[in-house]
């Protein structure tokens, strides 16, 4: 039997993965909204709106689940992260608020006019800033410079995250989300011209992802030594890099061949592997160097209940999600009928 706290930490990373794969792509949609260009710009925007509309709020809850598991299962880690990263987290929240409300206001503002474009602008700019801040936060956690002892933050409130490595992670996250979104969007329409638009965008974003991945890896040498050590020296390092590289190359190949279904699977696998690689590299730390999964873990009574609730919740959740996605993403044919 695995220790409870390990399962809880795993559940947290699973939730974060779902947030990246689903919620992340919704942000990516906002990026492509801003960069909608050419003769089909309006159609691109409409497709993005249609794809995000019914699902973004449900996708967003994955982030809340991450936070809730963190403060229930690892309260001390939550306290340390929320204290030392107060500034980027606050900016992240402002981004989340603006993205969500501007998207909704745009959808429900009746007249198709200037103001609607204003909401669209806020929505898309917030969709760019928020992933960067999310990445900065994760980069700050990985950097090993977050300390919180006896109510004091010895490294200050700025240095742990305003550094090359976390910033690089921020842009890496943005590129990944934009890549995911472009790949998914090829499957949201039957209009081959629109598919081509997003196929091209996916390929460009994929190249940027690769470049930024290299930058993040190089910067981690000084920016996040523990993670770097894990990523280069562990027994699992080589297989992990191989698997990630294969899924990345396969995603490119599938895009090239217009095998969009396969591209989606490969892109999702790539993002998943990156997240799990990071998690493994910093294992057993939640916040390196002071807080481990074990030292931060809530007592077994809490963890047992939390895991019970997660298991029961999953039983309700996955069928519901399946239904949601089947209704809105399943039959493209029915989508076309409505025009």
């Amino acid at each position: 039997m695995w220790p409870l706290e390990l399962i809880a930490a795993g559940a947290m990373i699973v939730s974060l993965t779902f947030y990246a794969l689903l919620g992340g792509a919704d942000y990516g949609g906002g990026v492509w909204d801003l960069f909608a260009r050419g003769p089909r710009a309006l159609k691109q925007r409409a497709l993005i709106e249609e794809a995000i509309g019914p699902v973004w709020e449900a996708n967003h809850v994955w982030l809340i689940l991450v936070v809730v598991i963190l403060f229930t299962g690892f309260p001390v880690a939550f306290a340390a992260i929320a204290t030392a990263l107060h500034i980027p987290l606050t900016l992240l929240l402002i981004g989340i608020v603006l993205r969500g409300s501007a998207f909704t206001f745009r959808t429900y503002d009746v007249k198709r006019d200037e103001r609607e474009r204003g909401w669209g602008r806020i929505f898309s700019i917030a969709s760019i800033i928020t992933p960067v801040l999310l990445g900065i936060t994760l980069g700050g956690i990985a950097s090993g410079s977050i300390r919180f002892e006896n109510g004091i933050v010895p490294n200050g409130f700025v240095r742990p995250w305003l550094a090359p490595f976390p910033l690089a992670v921020g842009f890496f996250a943005l590129a990944l989300f934009a890549f995911l979104a472009a790949v998914y969007l090829t499957l949201e329409t039957r209009d081959t011209l629109l598919q081509e638009d997003f196929r091209r965008r996916a390929i460009v974003a994929g190249v940027v992802v690769a470049a930024l991945a290299l930058a993040v890896f190089l910067l981690s040498g000084s920016g996040a030594p523990k993670v770097r050590a894990g990523l280069s020296a562990s027994a699992w390092a080589v297989p992990l890099h191989l698997a990630t590289a294969i899924s990345a190359i396969a995603a490119f190949a599938a895009l090239w061949k217009r095998a969009y279904g396969l591209a989606r699977v490969c892109a999702a696998a790539q993002v998943t592997l990156i997240l799990w690689g990071w998690a493994l590299a910093q294992f057993p730390y939640i916040v390196e160097p002071d807080i481990t999964i074990q030292s931060a873990a809530a007592p077994p009574a809490t963890l047992r209940l939390l895991l019970g609730a997660l298991a029961l919740g999953a039983l309700l959740l996955f069928p519901s999600f399946y239904y949601l996605f089947r209704v809105f993403k399943g039959g493209l044919a029915s989508l076309k009928d409505e025009g």
């Binding site: 709020e57 936070v67 299962g73 939550f78 306290a79 992260i81 929320a82 608020v97 503002d109 519901s320």
Partner: protein, 453 residues
């Protein structure tokens, strides 16, 4: 403003903002499901139009509720890290369960809002019912966490650290039942009255408009029923407070002296320096009777507590009076409406009754804000009653005035936009809609989307 005060203000402002959307998010799905259900039963198009309009309003409000709730989840740590480090393992449980309620709520709201043409009518109605149910559940779970802050149980303290944690016992804390009941009723009462007030306003000019008449009937039934029970549930709350948090009871009644047969004060200005309350109307033995159901019971006054454990008495007392006054107004209007219906067997639509409804429209939301002020300010100086002080819980982050002001400006802006959107979207009378029942309606049945294209 020092950092502690800035943190408290930011928390209070964020919650005061969120709770409006949360209350609407609990009750609005019920109204919309009732309208849709009536449509499926009667096939009167006006009900479908109503369900659709209400759904649009709900969509806007839900989004703002979701993002402001996300802010709160983070703020618990951003502002009160020591509190969360201490209490996370004890009260994380209701927050986790709340998380799953959010999932079901968001998933089925997506299906409800965007699925009019994609799922069968019954499945659509069921999706709405699930939204209504999970909205109520999410409110209940989070209020359980708050009730624990008021009456912390389910752990022991060893060397200043919580041990022997029992999260289930913590959830079943002594304030949980009264607070969740009171809050859930409050959501239905406040939303019902707010919606009824809007439609009553329109009806004053356009008495026969079927759309507004149907809307008023549904909203008034839900809001009025809840408002009738609310004072009863308030009594349950007051008695729980009397037992669990005597300092809060003393503050909300402005009771400075410990005495047997304490009077109930209506109004009055508490003078903290002199430890007396002036200009109040006193009902002899009223407080003892209400709080302990015994006219001679001894009520603990603020004099039983050291001065640094008093909450801010004037604020708590005034907020309590405001809540009870609003509750009394709403109950009176609800009784008036029930009497009118009983006499005429029809929707009461007299001029004065409609005016009263307009007047009472904001009363529920005012009572909710005031009630939470009683609960939260009345708990001070404690963040966990009797266990941890708010000052011990606050983050060491300096300059907290900046995020407080930033979020205040952001939320003021959002409020203005939401009001403007709702005004344009939902409140205006539909004109071109076929409001007849019967034949045309039966034909529409096949293609309901024609109604509100």
């Amino acid at each position: 403003m020092n950092d502690l005060l800035a943190a408290r203000s930011q928390m209070a402002m964020s919650l005061a903002f969120h709770i409006v959307f949360a209350a609407i998010g609990i009750a609005m799905p019920l109204l919309m499901v009732i309208a849709e259900w009536l449509y499926l039963r009667t096939r009167e198009d006006v009900y479908l139009e109503l369900a659709r309009r209400w759904a649009k309003g709900t969509a806007i409000l839900f989004a703002v509720g979701a993002v402001s709730g996300t802010v709160l989840s983070f703020e618990l740590g951003l502002l009160w890290p020591q509190f969360m480090g201490y209490a996370g393992a004890i009260i994380g449980m209701p927050f986790s369960l709340e998380g799953f309620a959010f999932f079901t709520e968001a998933i089925f709201l997506g299906i409800y809002l965007y699925g009019w043409k994609r799922v069968a009518p019954r499945a659509h109605l069921a999706a709405g019912a699930i939204v209504a149910l999970s909205g109520a559940l999410s409110g209940i779970f989070v209020v359980i966490a708050n009730a624990w802050m008021n009456s912390p149980v389910g752990f022991q303290i060893l060397d200043g650290k919580p041990v022997n944690i029992d999260p289930v016992a913590a959830m079943l804390n002594p304030m949980a039942l009264s607070q969740t009941l009171h809050m859930t009723l409050a959501a239905y009462a406040a939303t019902g009255f707010a919606v009824a007030g809007i439609h009553a306003y329109q009806l004053r000019r356009d008495r026969s408009n079927l759309f507004h008449r149907r809307a008023l009937a549904i909203a008034l039934t839900v809001g009025g029923a809840a408002a009738l029970f609310q004072p009863l549930s308030g009594d349950l709350s007051a008695r729980a407070v009397a037992r669990q948090q005597p300092a809060k009871l003393a503050a909300l009644e402005a009771q400075f002296k410990t005495e047997a047969g304490a009077p109930l004060r209506i109004g009055g200005i508490p003078d903290v320096e002199r430890a007396e309350t002036r200009y109040a109307i006193e009902i002899p033995r009223g407080l003892s009777l209400l709080a302990f159901h015994d006219p001679n019971a001894k009520v603990t006054g603020l004099d039983a507590f050291p001065r640094d454990e008093w909450p801010h008495v004037p604020i708590v007392h005034a907020a309590f009076q405001l809540m009870v006054a609003s509750g009394t107004l709403m109950m009176a209007v609800a009784l008036w409406g029930a009497y009118g219906f009983w006499r005429r067997r029809a929707l009461p639509d007299g001029k004065w009754f409609l005016r009263a409804l307009v007047l009472a429209a904001p009363a529920g939301m005012i009572a909710i804000e005031a009630g939470w002020t009683v609960t939260e300010v009345g708990r001070q100086p404690w963040i966990i009653y009797g266990i941890m002080r708010t000052a011990e819980a606050v983050t060491p982050m300096p300059g907290l005035l900046v995020p407080f002001l930033t979020f205040t400006v952001l939320y003021l802006f959002l409020s203005a936009v939401v009001v403007w959107l709702l005004f344009r979207q939902v409140a205006a009378s539909p004109r071109g809609v076929p409001l007849a029942s019967g034949k045309e309606a039966a034909q529409e049945e096949e293609e309901p989307e024609h109604v509100a294209a």
